[in-house]
Amino acid sequence: MHISHIELYSWKNFRKINVGLTERAILVGPNASGKSNFLDAIRFLRDLASPGGGLQRAVEDRGGVSKIRCLAARQDPDVGITVTLSNGGPAEWKYEIKFNQESRGYRRPILVSEIVTRNGEVILDRPNEEDKDDKERLTQTALEQINLNAKFREIAQFFEKISYLHLVPQIIRSGREWGALNKQAEVFGYNFLTRIAKTQEKTRDARLRRITQALKVAVPQLIELHLERDERGIPHLVGKYSHWRPKPAKQNEESFSDGTLRLLGLLWSLQEGDGPLLLEEPELSLHSGVVRRLPSLIHRIQRQRKRQIFISTHSFELLSDEGISGDEILMLVPSQEGTQIHSAISRPEIRALLETGLSVADAVLPYTEPPDLEQLELFSS
């Protein structure tokens, strides 16, 4: 199953957008155009459905409704997400949520509507009679409640499997204390090593072996990678490196380079789970030669695991891959009325260039350049 279509209403940079999604969707756009916020809308669905999540928590973690609502939205105060899910064929499921906040008191988020349809048939339509009798019910989605989501548990489970990767090497190395204090720490990788440690030993070893093989290409000195616990029981990744001494040197994650940690995190995440995977700028800290190979690497794993992958990127090298098709590229274009999003091939001039065989990088990236780039040349203290 994959998300084949998404609509956002008043979600951060997006006042109103409506776009089809392929099984590999690559987001490009200038800085601050909303690439991360687009991915965050998909993460929001995960946060609604995951254990310990739900509407209140998901909104609170994002700083409240007022932080989510689009600044460009004027009249319509409701925030909303609608996704269509399909199994390769026609749309099967549709989940729609709209919410707002209480006008007084704690200003908790409250549901304006929650609708689920399957093959066009309405399975859930809130607010219903019970919601009208008991307004408190509107503080929770049906998605987050197992006694209410029985008829569409399949999509609740699908949302729960959404995973997001934006590893910050410094947080993996020493983020334990920071992570405990920060609600969003998980997405930056503070519990990354714990996740590896919790994986069944056989699976873990097999994955680490595969990762070592792939990592060797980028870091030729690496011989072996395994998990070790220190005297306090805290897991560490230990790498053996060859050098001029007869015995290889051992180093743990605290000494790994940023590039090693980020590639390792990427390779692990690709093998973990089968739900949609959101990758935020996977090119960071990596050598351009490695970045060029990421699209085909991601595709190989995607083919085996049948998972949808979203990638946000600024990388010329990543987009130079000849296997990337124009319909996989979503261009984010900021405007006074919020960011617009469209498939690269919906613009005739880009379509014409791609049809000549020009790479996506050469044809599309110029459109994501800020218009007054030369101002940077004029910048000085």
Binding site: L353, T356, D362, P366, E369, E374, L378
Partner: protein, 204 residues
């Protein structure tokens, strides 16, 4: 009539700024849009053919340097072996885009802080206009021009660390194609061609 949007194709970032100014100053019926390329001459050699194919549905204007090639027609036949589409304009600076900047003699002399008689009268005859520009910067009475545009001793680079930044500033703030074309036939040719460039697009 509203201006026609054209996409640019440039050899480098400095060429892009020159091309934008050229269109703004000499061809107000054209509106410069995004700029492709900026990855050097080899990229132009390989990819201009694709833009030529796409020109049936979108107009393009390109700018490259002649450098060591024999003459502009040879270069054009290398780029467009099967002929050039009417919706693509390929301009070539003889020998480098720096010649077009040097051609605005008073303005560049003032910008670099050198006497006017040091600026060549016929910059297109210079084999290496970039070197001319760097050597002029060496004579500058402004410390910042020397520091930015001249490579430090023992540097393997041919230009200073902010050579391009200074020249982009010059192009955006001072350079006038109308004045410069008097000392540069290839620029004069470019100004004239862009003035008369009227792409024909489907639906028009």
């Amino acid at each position: 009539m509203s201006p026609i949007k054209v996409s640019l194709i440039a050899e480098g970032p400095l060429d892009e700024q020159v091309l934008r100014q050229l269109l703004i100053q000499s061809a107000p019926h054209l509106l410069p849009g995004v700029c492709h390329g900026k990855k050097g001459r080899i990229w132009l050699n390989t990819n201009l053919i694709n833009f030529n194919k796409a020109a049936h549905s979108w107009p393009f204007v390109s700018l490259g340097d002649l450098e060591h090639d024999e003459c502009p027609p040879t270069l054009l036949s290398l780029w467009y072996p099967n002929g050039k589409h009417g919706n693509i304009q390929s301009r070539i600076a003889v020998r480098m885009v720096e010649s077009w900047l040097l051609a605005d003699r008073e303005a560049i002399a003032q910008f670099l802080g050198v006497a006017l008689h040091h600026i060549p009268h016929s910059p297109e005859d210079e084999i290496n206009p970039k070197l001319v520009m760097v050597n002029l910067a060496r004579r500058s009475r402004y410390r910042i021009i020397k520091e930015d545009m001249v490579p430090p001793i023992n540097s393997s680079g041919s230009v200073g660390k902010n050579y391009r930044g200074q020249l982009e500033k010059f192009v955006v703030e001072k350079w006038q194609a109308k004045r410069a074309q008097n000392c540069s036939p290839s620029l004069q040719h470019a100004v004239r061609s862009l003035k008369h460039f009227h792409p024909v697009l489907p639906g028009n």
